[in-house]
């Protein structure tokens, strides 16, 4: 700590640069824990199974569906219907990546090995981020291809080359990554699994009353809720009616997603550099 504070300015940036050893130790900690595999496995299974169920029900009921239902049919939305479970599992993974160390006291061993807290935080964020990005992309592309295979029997499928499709699939994977990192930031801020998970799910799914309350003044609060951001970046058809007012434009959606990422990671970094 003293060495760090005596180094002016230059030390600030350097104190967040993790070495290869720190990265490796964080990777070992992440991959050697059973709950990492359990949550990812759970996410994959439920997301894929539900996506297949939804798309195969579309295909087998297509002949009897009403014109209105057919107009609302979204081939991507239905293959991604199970991704909400993926978001939950990825977010919990992010929380646990850091909250568990505080609960078990492991964080003391970590800080004894690497006293610069910024480096520990950056190494953890990097490892969790890369893992969630890679697994998230695998999950969304897997769900996409399986879902489209189900729909292809009725020729309802879309292809990656169709307008907007590749962007939507990539955005769904990106969203899983951001949710994981928000969970990670919350875990670092709150240091308790229960509190951080509760805060995360409240933000992801239960925050819409905040937006609704303010709707008569401005739709902006609704538009920057994670739920509506996710809707905006993963839909191929434009929404109609009142819900459409709550959905942000693509520019607003991507920039507020980036803002969420920066704010929660920064809050976590600030908190971890305080006393453990």
């Amino acid at each position: 700590m003293t060495a760090q504070s005596s180094l002016p300015q230059r030390g600030v940036l350097r104190s967040f640069l993790p070495g290869r050893g720190v990265l490796r130790s964080e990777w070992i900690k992440l991959r050697s824990v059973r709950s990492t595999y359990l949550s990812v496995l759970f996410a994959t299974l439920v997301a894929v199974v539900l996506g297949v169920l939804a798309t195969s029900s579309d295909a087998s009921n297509w002949a009897t569906m009403t014109a209105q239902d057919k107009a609302q049919f979204d081939p991507l939305g239905d293959s991604f219907i199970g991704l909400i479970f993926g978001e939950l599992a990825f977010g919990v993974l992010g929380v646990l990546a850091i909250s568990t160390e505080y609960r078990t006291g492991m964080i003391r061993a970590t800080f004894s090995a690497v006293p610069q807290r910024g480096r520990v935080y950056a190494a953890k964020a990097l490892v969790v981020g890369v893992v969630s990005l890679v697994l998230g992309m695998l999950l969304v592309f897997g769900s996409f291809f399986l879902g489209q295979a189900m729909l292809s029997s009725k020729h309802l499928e879309v292809h990656l080359g169709d307008p907007g499709v590749l962007r939507v699939v990539l955005s769904a994977g990106l969203y899983l990554f951001v949710v994981t990192m928000i969970g990670f930031g919350l875990g670092a801020i709150l240091r308790h699994s229960a509190g951080a998970i509760a805060a995360l799910v409240a933000m992801l799914w239960l925050a819409y009353p905040i937006g609704r309350v303010l709707d008569h003044l401005s739709y902006l609060p609704s538009r920057i809720l994670l739920f509506n951001i996710a809707d905006a970046i993963t839909r191929t058809h434009a929404a109609t009616g009142k819900p459409a007012l709550r959905i942000p434009s693509l520019e607003l959606a991507y920039s507020s997603l980036a803002l969420y990422l920066v704010v929660f990671l920064a809050l976590g970094a600030w908190r971890i550099s305080r006393d453990a």
Binding site: S35, L38, S39, V46, L50, G51, L53, A54, S57, D58, N61, M65, D69, D78, I81, G82, I84, F85, L88, A89, V92, V95, L96, S99, R103, S193, A194, G195, I197, A198, V201, A202, W205, L206, P209, I210, R212, V213, L214, D215, H216
Partner: protein, 284 residues
Amino acid sequence: MPEPVMMLRSGQASASAPPRRGGFLVTRGMLASEWIKLRSVRSTWLTLLCALLFVLAFGLFDTLSVTESWNTMSAADKASFDPLAEAFAGMQIGELAFGVLGVLAISVEYETGMIQTTFSAVPRRGKVFAAKAVVGGGVMLTAGLALAFVTFLGGQWMLSAKNLDVQLADPGVLRSVACTGLYLAVVGLIGYGLGALIRHTAGAISVMFAVIWLTYGATHAVEKWSYLPDRWLLVSAYQTLSRIHPQSGTSALRAPTTTMAFVELAIYLLVFLGLGAWRMSRDA
């Protein structure tokens, strides 16, 4: 040392030999000890306080947004206005808090190792499970009813400015408010059952949340075949029990009848408490 050994032995003997009798009966001392454990933990009160603040704030602001914009609302919006739904707009946050409280009531004992002390004092696991369920359920039912009535009164007080308010004596109103309190306690006990089943805070909270809020993803996936799974969702049961105006359109197809809603709550409660009791009577 002989005493605890004998205690254990007599505990095991009476658990297996005289068939089951009194396996879940609890004494006043056990209830007192569970009550102390629950009330002496900061997170219990913090969780309940969070629930109260969020539910009240969301409910009152949402009601305010209706009274503010009432004069400019469309006829269709006015027709679908439910004087209870606005005040209860933040109730899901309350449900989340109660569910987390239920999980923590048991998972923390496994994480800290406190459960070993508990089982040394009361070797009969069924009794420990029952005592915790009675104390936790009692606290959550009381707190849930208080939360529901306070939120209701606050919301109606704001609606009375536009003469939109309803009274407890009006048809269905008392039932809706009481059922909201009951539902909070049911969610809390489902959390408790999952906490006992999974024994890990993070896992139990995630599963609780998935069971209550995310299962709609699963039921919507099969909606083109049948609306039956929708009707078996906890949130659908609560929709039926908490509204005074019946729903319309697709929402109506997803709503169970009132009787079915009560039966569903009972079955959820039985299943999750049963799973928790079964797991807890296995090795700690």
